[in-house]
């Protein structure tokens, strides 16, 4: 049995706005084991960033508010910690890499200092030793001339290099969990692969777990061990990565997999979109959030939120189609519903 490192249970996050209360994350539960890479995928506004930012305590309050739930790191509930106690956890036990490396580094501070700052904040290391540790981190993220680079400012680095620096900052204190919020979205495709490889290698070296947020299923297939698919503020399906790609059990996951463009351009097939728009999170539907866009939606889908049906070992899907009482897909087609 793998060691459970981080566990998120029944997390609910809302944002108060003039227009009302946005229910960004509704009853989300998942876990990460030691040394594991969990990918959270979903479209914009599905709540993936809010989920990981709540783990880090980075949700601005107000307007945000964590309404319910617990975030257990090795059994300790991070949501119950005081600000000061949380500061000790942030950057040392859990750290984060952000989406846009161009704006995520302080432009007026030497990059080396920005790495060393992380070290001096959490470990009893000062001055020259912290500097050496920082230089070592720059070397470990694959940047040549680390001692020289220590003295440079962010504007002297390319986007990919800056993301490497961000990773160096995040991993400087050997955290137990690394939260990566779309770490490659802003990078060129060739650089993306390099950065992902780097993260994977460092993860193995440092025995860190990673929660990788992305909307790129290619990245998921290549990097993750398990996947959680988010839609409308809930996790609709969780599965080991192979299982998800080979045997998906939620219509939204089907839609996502279908909409991946084929590399074979000669085919000139039209891209397959998921018709419709994501749910209004000001007043989310009481049933399945995907029901209005779902080709297979039944009456029960609109009426009642589906529970998490356990499909297989570690594979869960929140879809009524997995209930033993639901008609098989064939019958739905026979009843006049269209299957693509």
């Amino acid at each position: 049995m793998l060691e459970r490192l981080l566990e998120v249970n029944n997390l609910e996050v809302i944002f108060k706005t003039y227009g009302g209360e946005v229910q960004a994350v509704r009853d989300v539960s998942f876990h990460v084991d030691k040394g594991e890479i969990l990918a959270i995928v979903g479209e914009s506004g599905s709540g993936k960033s809010v989920t990981v930012q709540s783990i880090m305590g980075l949700i601005p309050t107000p307007p945000g508010k964590i309404k319910n739930g617990e975030v257990l790191l090795e059994g300790q509930d991070l949501l119950k910690l005081s600000k000061r106690e949380m500061q000790k956890v942030k950057g040392s036990k859990i750290s984060m890499v952000f989406q846009d490396p161009m704006t995520s580094l302080n432009p007026t501070m030497k990059v080396g200092k920005q790495i060393a700052e992380s070290i001096t904040t959490h470990q009893n290391i000062k001055g020259q030793e912290a500097k050496e540790r920082a230089i070592d981190m720059i070397r470990r993220v694959g940047i040549s001339n680390p001692a020289e680079r220590y003295e440079q400012y962010p504007h002297e680095f390319s986007g990919g290099m800056r993301q490497r620096i961000m990773i160096a900052i995040a991993l400087a204190c050997h955290p137990k969990v690394l939260l990566a919020d779309e770490p490659t979205t802003a990078l060129d495709v060739t650089i993306q692969a390099q950065v992902l490889d780097l993260m994977k290698n460092l993860k193995d070296d440092m025995d860190t777990s990673i929660i990788l947020i992305t909307h790129d299923l290619g990245v998921v297939a290549e990097t993750a061990e398990r996947v959680a698919v988010m839609y409308g503020g809930i996790i609709v399906e969780t599965a080991p990565v192979n299982e998800l790609f080979n045997n998906p059990k939620h219509p939204y996951t089907w839609g996502l997999l279908e909409s991946i463009p084929d590399i074979d351009v000669a085919d000139k097939k039209r891209l397959v979109p998921i018709e419709g728009a994501p749910p209004d999170l000001f007043s989310p539907p009481k049933g399945c959030p995907f029901a209005p866009r779902c080709k297979y939606a039944m009456d029960v889908c609109v009426e009642e939120m589906p529970p998490a049906f356990s499909i297989d070992n570690g594979h869960e899907a929140k879809c009524w189609l997995n209930d033993s009482r639901s008609p098989a897909l064939k019958e739905l087609v026979a009843a006049g519903r269209q299957l693509s």
């Binding site: 500061q87 950057g91 040392s92 432009p107 007026t108 959490h122 504007h155």
Partner: protein
């Protein structure tokens, strides 16, 4: 290379300002002796005009003035003919400069503080309180603020001297009156700059490192927020240290502020030129220093002589 180029441009700038001022000044109707015209006989006036080369064509006057200027001789005041313009500036500048410097320090210290406090407490009581002070500072003119300060601090409560110049106590009220507006402007500017920085991604990065709030604000917030504020400290500094007509008049301070205004009314040509050139030299120099210092404050800025 950059510095040499900048110095040449500065000299050119000052020459252009001096020439334009000279030309415009000569186009103002009237002359320094207009009020004496009824009293003095024509021949006497002729002689006086000749003494100041006012009988020559403007082009000749211009050349004569420029000749003196390059030897740093600003000529003699027409109004009080025993005093050279150089000595008027030398006598008045120290008091004005000291007053201006004090006001600048107060305005910067309190203005930045108010702005930062307001930004950190965005949309809370402290924010509203700071901005209330700032609005008052901007909207109450110094000629109202100064008499009010005198009325309460000097006359009613007798804490400070009413006017004139001498001990440091004398300088408190004029410093406050002079600092109020720039203080408010700096506070508002710093607040918006700080608010902008607070929303930057790198602040989130620093927060995710687990830094304490104090370190977060000082190392990552203020350092970046202060950059745009520095750019207008230059002109502000010059306008403060060259004295102000209103404050110096109200507090009877022997500065040079009044010469800027009086010289124009009196058509005291050498003093108009002298004060204008004095001001522009200071301004051009200060801007130069600010530009140079930017290189050390903002690492993204490199000084080049263009085209690189």
């Amino acid at each position: 290379m950059y510095i040499v180029k900048r110095i040449l441009i500065m000299l050119l700038t000052i020459w252009v300002i001096a020439s334009l001022t000279f030309l415009i000044m000569k186009f103002i109707p009237g002359d320094p002796f207009a009020s004496d015209a009824d009293v003095l006989p024509e021949e006497v006036l002729q002689n006086i005009r000749a003494k100041y080369n006012l009988d020559e064509p403007i082009a000749v006057q211009y050349v004569l003035y420029m000749k003196d200027l390059v030897t740093f001789d600003l000529g003699f005041s027409i109004q009080s003919e025993t005093r050279s313009v150089n000595s008027i500036i030398a006598d008045g500048a120290p008091a004005s400069a000291l007053l201006g410097l004090q006001a600048l320090i107060i305005a910067l210290a309190l203005g930045l503080l108010l702005g930062i406090v307001a930004a950190l407490n965005h949309n809370k009581l402290l924010d509203y309180a700071s901005m209330f002070i700032a609005i008052i500072g901007i909207s109450v003119p110094s000629f109202i603020l100064a008499p009010l300060l005198i009325k309460y601090f000097a006359v009613e409560w007798g804490m400070l001297p009413v006017a004139s110049w001498g001990t440091w106590q004398h300088s408190i009220l004029p410093t406050l009156a002079l600092a109020a507006t720039p203080l408010a402007v700096i506070a508002r500017f710093m607040r918006s700059s700080m608010l902008e920085v607070t929303n930057q991604n790198y602040i989130k990065t620093a927060d995710a490192k687990g830094l304490s709030k104090t370190k977060l604000v000082i190392r990552h917030g203020i350092r970046n927020a202060i950059l745009p504020v520095i750019s207008f400290i230059g002109p502000l500094f010059v306008s403060l240290i060259t004295g102000t007509f209103v404050i110096e008049k109200i507090f009877a301070i022997p500065g040079i502020g009044r010469y800027f205004v009086d010289s124009i009314f009196n058509r005291d040509y050498p003093v108009i030129m002298g004060t204008t050139i004095f001001f522009s030299v200071l301004l051009v120099l200060t801007l130069f220093i600010i530009d140079i210092s930017y290189r050390y404050i903002d690492p993204r800025i490199k000084l080049t002589s263009g085209g690189e």
